[in-house]
Amino acid sequence: MLKQIMMVLIGGLLLSNATVAHAEYKQVKVIGKVETKFIRTATTGQKKLALEDARKKALDKYISELDSQRVRILNNVIDQLRQNLSTYVPEVVALDDGNWNDGYWTIGVQASINEAQIEEIVNTYTKANVKKQGETFLSFVFVAREADSVRKFDGKKTERVADSEAVKTSESEDGASGTSEKVSEKITGGSVEKKADKISYRSYIPEDIGSKVSEVFNKAEFSVVEPFEAQIDPKSFASDFVESDEISDATKKAAVDAAKKAGLNYLAVATLDVGEQIVDQATGMQKVYVRVNGYVWDLNGKFTKKICSVGPVQFSGLGEDPKVAKTNALINAASAAAKDLVDQLRLKQSM
């Protein structure tokens, strides 16, 4: 009897949970199919099979639209996903009453994908793999630069001018009157030498994005070590990035040596190039684009290897003033780059 009470209670609680509305699911449309060779319709059991087929197809369609790194991770857990389809594809709503054609009964379905649950399985899977390797220490250096001043050069023009004059005279037959016309010919030519605008940059280490990037790495079970703990100097990265588009070998060497000495497993580096602010035509707000390049060094072996990279990719941010727009763009770019690097790292670690 106690068992029955428990079942009623559990059933009730499950039912009450099922009534929570407006959960955020991704919608995917697919066609579920079942073979019904001998009848032109489907039995209740066959309809269930078609809906189950739709769930599988919805999951496959969802995965196929993800980026390649995420697909590779999910392929490792695909059996687990398929065995628990009702968790990952919790809702299938029929779009029609079904059609029979050529021995098959098909039904259009709008399926809901529970992305939060899929993220959870990715985390669990990678956590299990990371655990095998023990605690993984990672530090990151994300530096940004923006134009401080732009010196514009006009094209240097070299012009060649050659003048020639000829006098054309016409006279009447009686010679009493006539007109005289002066024809002048000008030959021009030359060349234009164009010089690229000289842009001077100022660099900085954006504090706003530090916590966001840490959050991404922490959620993926990396132990984030502050650069100062490992004697890594982000300022030298920033000053290199101002001088040229790249980080110098000397700066890289110093950072890698310091990181190895401190016992770090990985060092992530990203450069963020902040563009000029523009007015977004759709909203009238300020908009800023940020171009990001990033990579991760694997410090575990004898030699340092660049094991994953991202970019160049552009992200934008909107804001009521340029400062807010810039911060939003930096956060969007940095967190997207960090997420991509994490996915690639997870994949490398699980292989």
Partner: protein, 370 residues
């Protein structure tokens, strides 16, 4: 043993009641205000008269739209289905409701010695989810007003007319909203929805729509809004805004206080193509005092799923009516009659949908707001 059974029955009934009340518990919705749909920079040109009215503020810094629409919503909120509307409240809910103006159109045509004024106002009562910045549901409201005047309408007249068409007790956006408020609710997630994807106006129809010859896109948007309004009003189905008005599937809302928010419009479960094939006028009967003309509107309506390549309903529907025109009348206002025919053919489409039991059961019932 009997006591235990009683306890079990009690628990079952208690939990059943709890679940039913949890399911039907009203959803907290914040009132977000009045908004314009579109680019911030275009507000003054796209919504010339409404934005002019909106810029006039009272001593509390509120426009007629801020004040009167909020009051209207406040007075009528209890009639909405399953919605607990929060006004000026620090509610934590992420669901908000806004009345968004999508189109304001005034055209003045000189016919003989009179001036014909045609006004189209399109609004959406829009439910928004600030969590994912998505449009959850929309209730389209379309208003058309045609008037004939001896004097050319000036700017003051137009301004007053727009205000009247928003707030008058007998014929206005607010009146339409009041008539529908009892059927407005936030749909259950399991209900599917529809969206007008394309409005196609073919050449034979364009030839009789000279008022829009410079921009048929305006006419297409008006038709989309009008048809959405008819579907929502007559069939009570869940609708999403017309696809072509929101390129990239995003809806920008500019609120009265100049806040701009950008929302994602989800893909619809079913797409609708509305094709206006032709608008015709033929002499039906010649009389002594007047002639009878047969006016007609020919359409093709398609309900389909562009993602799955399935067509659920594809019908050619027409509507015709005879109009008597006095022989002494110098010019006939054909546009007003074609406009009326376009509205009538939409009514005919709704009737055909209701009559088609199989399609109604298969598609319409799946989109009902319930």
């Amino acid at each position: 043993m009997i006591k235990m059974r009683k306890l079990l029955i009690f628990l079952y009934l208690y939990l059943s009641f709890f679940c039913i009340s949890a399911y039907s518990a009203p959803q907290d919705v914040k009132y977000a205000g009045f908004a314009f749909v579109g680019n911030f920079d275009d507000i003054a040109t796209r919504f010339k008269y409404t934005s002019a009215l909106n810029s006039k503020k009272d001593e509390n810094g509120r426009s007629v739209f801020d004040r009167d629409i909020q009051k209207f919503i406040q007075d009528n909120a209890s009639a909405m289905l399953g919605i607990n509307l929060k006004i000026s409240d620090e509610s934590q809910t992420k669901i908000a409701m806004a009345l968004a103006l999508t189109r304001e159109n005034i055209s003045v045509v000189n016919v003989d010695d009179v001036f014909k004024v045609v006004v189209n106002l399109s609004c959406n009562l829009t439910f928004l989810n600030f969590d994912g910045m998505k449009v959850v549901a929309t209730y389209p409201i379309y208003l058309e007003y045609i008037d004939v005047r001896k004097e050319a309408p000036d700017e003051a007249y137009k301004l007053e007319l727009i205000k009247r068409l928003f707030f008058a007790d007998d014929f206005s956006i607010m009146k339409k909203l009041k008539d529908r408020i009892g059927s407005i609710g936030l749909k259950n997630d399991a209900v599917l929805n529809m969206k007008v994807l394309n409005v196609i106006v073919e050449d034979e129809a364009k030839a009789n729509l000279q008022e829009y010859k410079n921009d048929f896109g305006v006419f297409e948007s008006i038709v989309a809004q009008r048809f959405s309004d008819a579907l929502s009003n007559k069939l009570n189905v869940s609708l999403l805004p017309y696809a072509k008005d929101y390129l990239g599937g995003r809806m920008s809302l500019v609120f009265s206080d100049a806040r701009v928010q950008d929302f994602q419009i989800p893909n619809a479960s079913y797409g609708i193509d509305f094709t206006l094939r032709k608008l015709t006028k033929e002499l039906y009967k010649e009389g002594i005092g007047d002639d009878a003309f047969l006016y007609g509107a020919y359409t093709t309506i398609k309900f389909y799923d562009p993602d799955l390549g399935r067509t659920y309903w594809d019908q050619k529907i027409k509507f015709g009516a005879v109009k008597n025109v006095p022989k002494l009348q110098k010019t006939t206002d054909d546009f007003a009659i074609f406009d009326e025919m376009t509205g009538m053919v939409m009514g005919e489409v709704i009737k055909k949908i209701q009559d088609d039991k199989q399609f109604y059961k298969e598609v319409v019932t799946r989109c009902l707001n319930k």
